[in-house]
């Protein structure tokens, strides 16, 4: 189940950056956007190193989760 949640980062990322949230969560959302960008960068860089899309995506999801947990 946890893996499924991890692999749904894309969906969570979309939800968290949707501008319908209350104003008080604006700063947090900006942080989430950074985490999304970091996940995208990780996936792209790892693919450039010859990693499979699948594995790079797993690392990107893990990176995203760790980043969000640090916010």
């Amino acid at each position: 189940m946890k893996k499924l949640i991890l692999s749904m980062v894309f969906v969570f990322a979309f939800v968290t950056v949707t501008p319908t949230s209350a104003n008080s969560t604006l700063n947090t959302n900006t942080a989430y956007v950074d985490c999304v960008q970091q996940a995208i960068d990780t996936q792209n860089r790892y693919e450039a190193a010859g990693m499979s899309k699948e594995r790079a995506n797993h690392y990107a999801n893990l990176t995203y989760e760790a980043c969000v947990n640090q916010q």
């Binding site: 946890k2 893996k3 499924l4 991890l6 692999s7 749904m8 894309f10 969906v11 990322a13 979309f14 950056v17 956007v33 999304v36 960008q37 970091q38 995208i40 960068d41 990780t42 996936q43 792209n44 860089r45 790892y46 693919e47 450039a48 190193a49 010859g50 990693m51 499979s52 899309k53 699948e54 594995r55 790079a56 995506n57 797993h58 690392y59 893990l62 990176t63 989760e65 760790a66």
Partner: protein, 256 residues
């Protein structure tokens, strides 16, 4: 005529036990993995820039993998017709960042089912929020068999080499794979979906990760059950790659 009978009888004596042994080849194997101290997910590449965030992420992942890879093991159960390879356990650890990183490094998101009569390998994998079943031929991989040998445990093993071909959004990459197989264990199975050799793979190096047999039980007293996986969306490797690309594009669209 007597000599002829003697030859036939002697041949029979030699062949029958081998046949019986082959038919009773049932096993339960634990594979573990290791990485060298110099292990890193990224190496310097000409013309490829790495952001500070990705550099820091990679350092964290590298350290997590090196620290936790020893806590992960995989189990291969097999008989003469079928085998199943999957994550076994994570020894005394919570499911934190470190363990997750080591699981990804060793391919824990996939399990493999081998079927010799059908010449088939079924990969069941969790990716992009879905469960997939990807079928391929057991003998599809081209191996180069060499005469180089070494002993692993009590088994004489021979070296075989192959190439891992990875197609992703950037291009096609080729990386060497080295396997050591034991002809005395005449089953074409191995770790991480690798197989098709004239003996069990006792050690395998893929990228800079080495998989090795840490425990081997032949003909265990406990009954072995091998179940063919059925859950997951059935796709070809090509279709799976396209789904991966589509997921990434959707993500980028969401980000923008």
């Amino acid at each position: 005529m007597r000599i002829l009978y003697l030859i036939i009888f002697t041949t029979f004596l030699f062949l029958v036990p081998k046949t019986i042994r082959a038919q009773k080849m049932i096993g339960d194997i634990v594979y573990k993995a290791s990485v060298p101290k110099s292990f890193s997910l990224l190496k310097k590449q000409k013309g490829v820039k790495t952001s500070e965030a990705v550099k820091n992420t990679t350092i964290s992942l590298d350290n997590a993998i090196k620290k936790n890879i020893g806590k992960i093991s995989y189990k291969l159960v097999f008989n003469e017709n079928e085998a199943h390879y999957k994550l076994n356990s994570t020894l005394g650890s919570d499911e934190g960042f470190g363990i997750e990183a080591a699981k990804i490094a060793t391919g824990a998101f996939s399990s493999y089912y081998f079927n010799i009569p059908n010449n088939q390998v079924l990969k069941q994998t969790e990716a992009y929020g879905q469960l997939f079943l990807i079928s391929s031929d057991l003998n599809a991989r081209k191996w180069i068999l060499t005469q180089e040998s070494k002993t692993i445990g009590s088994y004489l093993c021979y070296k075989a080499t192959s190439t891992l071909v990875t197609k992703n959004s950037v291009g096609t990459f080729y990386k060497p794979v080295i396997a050591w197989y034991a002809p005395k264990l005449p089953v074409p199975y191995g770790p991480n979906g690798y197989g098709g050799l004239p003996g069990l793979i006792m050690q395998l190096k893929e990228r800079n990760i080495t998989f090795y047999v840490s425990k081997l039980t032949l003909n265990p007293k406990k009954e072995i059950k091998i179940r063919r996986p059925t859950k997951g969306k059935k796709v070809t490797q090509e279709e799976f790659e396209k789904i991966g690309e589509k997921s990434k594009l959707n993500f980028v669209k969401m980000r923008n």
